[in-house]
Assembly symmetry: C2
Homo-oligomer: 452 residues x 2
């Protein structure tokens, strides 16, 4: 199909010498994954079956249709981490970059506000905005576990500020676990519409469930395209020989690079519409693989912007990085010869901005390559739902393979539990007496201070 | 004054054992800086004199007053790296978080569009928006060198799309070097209003010049406050004994942490209004210190959001990070007892969202500390112009000290030059024949491909 092309020339030792990988090492790691890949598809992880199980989500379409009839002007999404990053990625990629600015830019679709933080400053501003349009604001509350205190608190607040209106109940959709959790209890009591996160699919692997797809439906995005892209990528990954298999090859490169001391994975889209994707990938990699004192650190960087911020460090700093470029540009815009009396900009006048964008990408990549900084490129022919679906599935599989290679469980996140308990202790949760002693002691020990 | 408090308890070995620093090592590094500090203020770098030289910028205020009379509805800022990050930081911190959304949120001030990238997709959308309000759009074009091809190209395009209107010339402000560069030539020919970047002040140290202050003036921000904060911070840094000196202590900690293998500096604001500051700091650190195969990698992370994305890696991943928290919260918002029939959320109902925000911060910090991950906290009593000015100046000095400790020139960026040349070669700049051969060869060598 050739809608994605992976170019790994600049990770190879034949290009960058001893900082690079020998092809035989890539082949050897990939062939391990080939064996794993076979057994994997015989007993797939639940997320791997999502693209072919979309019929499960028929109710989601019906609910979206009902919602559309309600003249919704604002979609307020309460969710954090895996409950918001997928939606943000899709919206960034497929909606107008200034969607909220004006009706013309959103073709009559609702504005959206994704509340992925609880800083009261921003929360208060969103309340001021939505209070003026109480009747036309849809709340989508997402938490796989149904227990996320940030999301629950936001919901408690918005229930108070928006909930006095008639038919408030009809403008709430909950997305959570089918069988348990606080949100499930609330649904049972209040009778809100509910959609479920399929069993065994963790937050960061949930973009192809109602978590990422329902908000997209509300925005009129063709989710079948997204799912079809994922489905075709799944077929590619399942069937392609390992040397032509994009997921296996990407995983091998990232693994071997980390083993060589490239502990930082820079993800650098040359494509503003993939800015959200980089944030989504950050969670996927960090939370899946950052365990047992291992795991590369993902680092988001935007081309061309960060050429003027981070490139100096990448070119001349420590050799601890592997750079993953994502490149895609479609639209054109002529650069006119506006100041033709200046000879030194002759090379720009009459060219296209798209060509400058491409030249900046190639120039940057080449300067990194000459400085022996390993890098590879995934070029996307276009940004659309299909390609985005394929991209999600590709990287979910890459991370699954990396979990196998690192020998870690890519699907849990034990390291974040303790912080959650201390938070609850500090908030006065009754049963956490011992933990509250610990937090109080820590606070009173904080005495090494300097003031201004 | 106690408007900033630096708490370094959790970088000390008495708190986190062998991953931490001995107090005597901090004192020893700080005392080196004490000696350096004395000579430094005798012959200060140009950026250090900015807070006391603001009288130079009187014309800036007059120009802003003239502009205000023109009923400007859109401020379009063309600039990248040091030419945009300062303004973005100030706007993020001091304007309404949904400033562009509605007149009510911006109190009659113009909307703003900061074009810090050249992806044609976004550029075209900004053109569509501004073309409808040609008469009311102000262009601020910023490039210290006056040679930035991205900014010049954008200017060439907008000159074409907006330039046919009468009095277009009166709605352009150029901020560039006084004596040289393409923008200076354009100003001389076209007669646009111009403001200068003082000599010897590099892009990433230019926020306290017209680069960051003029766009702020247009938005009605009190820039005297910003400058006063910087001035008072300068006095603190110049005069405080080294053990009570915030800049010296911060530089010592960051330096010693990097020497101990904490190669990644996480900057993690618990404060949405400081999101832009983290981006500004990223450039300042990476571009100033990323040289000679040295330099820590700055990594932006947002609290609480990234607790659900990056925290797992920080707690259980490699011990290669030092985490710098910035904390500030002022506003309140009661969490009502909305679902009082659920006992397990009793601990939230009746509390304030601000307290949850704080508890999440403390809980996260404690879980990192117990995992022996070094971290320190700069707590800000408030977010306002004064504190922001102080914060800018503080970190500019920290980076200056780090340049001294690393023995690198913190004020150049030689590593980005080659990429710029290759870009021009690819765009067909006539004199770059040899470089064009290199780029062509590299492109034709890119043959290790996998497709989907």
């Amino acid at each position: 199909m050739n809608i994605f092309t992976l170019d790994m020339t600049n990770v190879l030792s034949k290009t960058i010498g001893k900082e690079g990988l020998h092809k035989k090492d890539i082949v050897s790691t990939s062939s391990k994954l080939k064996t794993y890949n076979k057994t994997l598809w015989d007993a797939p992880y639940p997320f791997m079956e999502l693209p072919s199980l979309m019929f499960q989500f028929k109710e989601m379409g019906q609910l979206a249709d009902t919602i559309k009839k309600k003249h919704i002007k604002n979609l307020v999404l309460l969710g954090i981490g895996g409950s918001s990053l997928g939606t943000e990625t899709i919206f960034h990629a497929l909606l107008h970059p200034f969607h909220n600015l004006h009706e013309d830019m959103r073709n009559g679709k609702p504005r959206y506000f994704i509340l992925d933080n609880i800083d009261p400053h921003k929360m208060n501003r969103v309340i001021e905005i939505t209070e003026k349009e109480k009747d036309n604001t849809l709340l989508v509350v997402i938490s796989k576990s149904g227990e996320t205190p940030e999301t629950i608190s936001q919901f408690m607040i918005l229930k108070e500020t928006l909930g006095k209106e008639k038919n408030f109940r009809d403008r709430v959709v909950i997305i959570t676990d089918k069988n348990k959790g606080i949100l499930k209890e609330i649904v049972d009591k209040e009778g809100y519409a509910v959609l479920n996160v399929p069993e065994g699919v963790g937050g960061r692997f949930s973009v192809l469930t109602p978590v990422g797809l329902f908000p997209s439906l509300v925005m009129g995005i063709d989710i079948d395209e997204i799912v079809n892209g994922a489905k075709d990528m799944a077929a590619h990954i399942r069937e392609k020989p390992y040397k032509e298999n994009m997921a296996i090859t990407l995983a091998s490169i990232l693994y071997l690079m980390e083993r060589k001391g490239k502990h930082i994975h820079v993800i650098m889209p040359y494509c503003e519409r993939l800015s959200g994707f980089a944030d989504w990938f950050r969670q996927l990699e960090a939370e899946s693989l950052g365990k047992n004192h291992l795991g590369a650190t993902p680092l988001k960087s935007m081309g061309v912007t960060d050429q003027h911020s981070q490139l100096q460090l990448y070119v001349e700093g420590p050799k601890d990085k592997c750079i993953m470029f994502l490149y895609s540009a479609q639209e054109k815009r002529l650069i006119p010869r506006s100041f033709s009396y200046i000879e030194s900009i002759d090379y720009l006048g009459g060219k296209d901005l798209k060509d400058l964008f491409y030249a900046e990408f190639i120039g940057t990549r080449l300067s990194l390559t000459e400085a022996k900084r390993p890098n590879f490129t995934l070029q996307l022919e276009n940004i659309n739902g299909y390609n985005l679906g394929a991209l999600f599935f590709l990287y979910e599989m890459v991370i699954t393979y990396l979990g196998y290679l690192y020998n870690v469980n890519a699907f849990d996140q034990p390291g974040v539990e303790l912080g959650k308990i201390y938070t609850k202790a500090l908030m006065g949760k009754k049963d956490l007496v011992k933990e509250r002693k610990t937090t109080n002691r820590a606070l009173s020990n904080s005495k090494t201070l300097i003031s201004f």
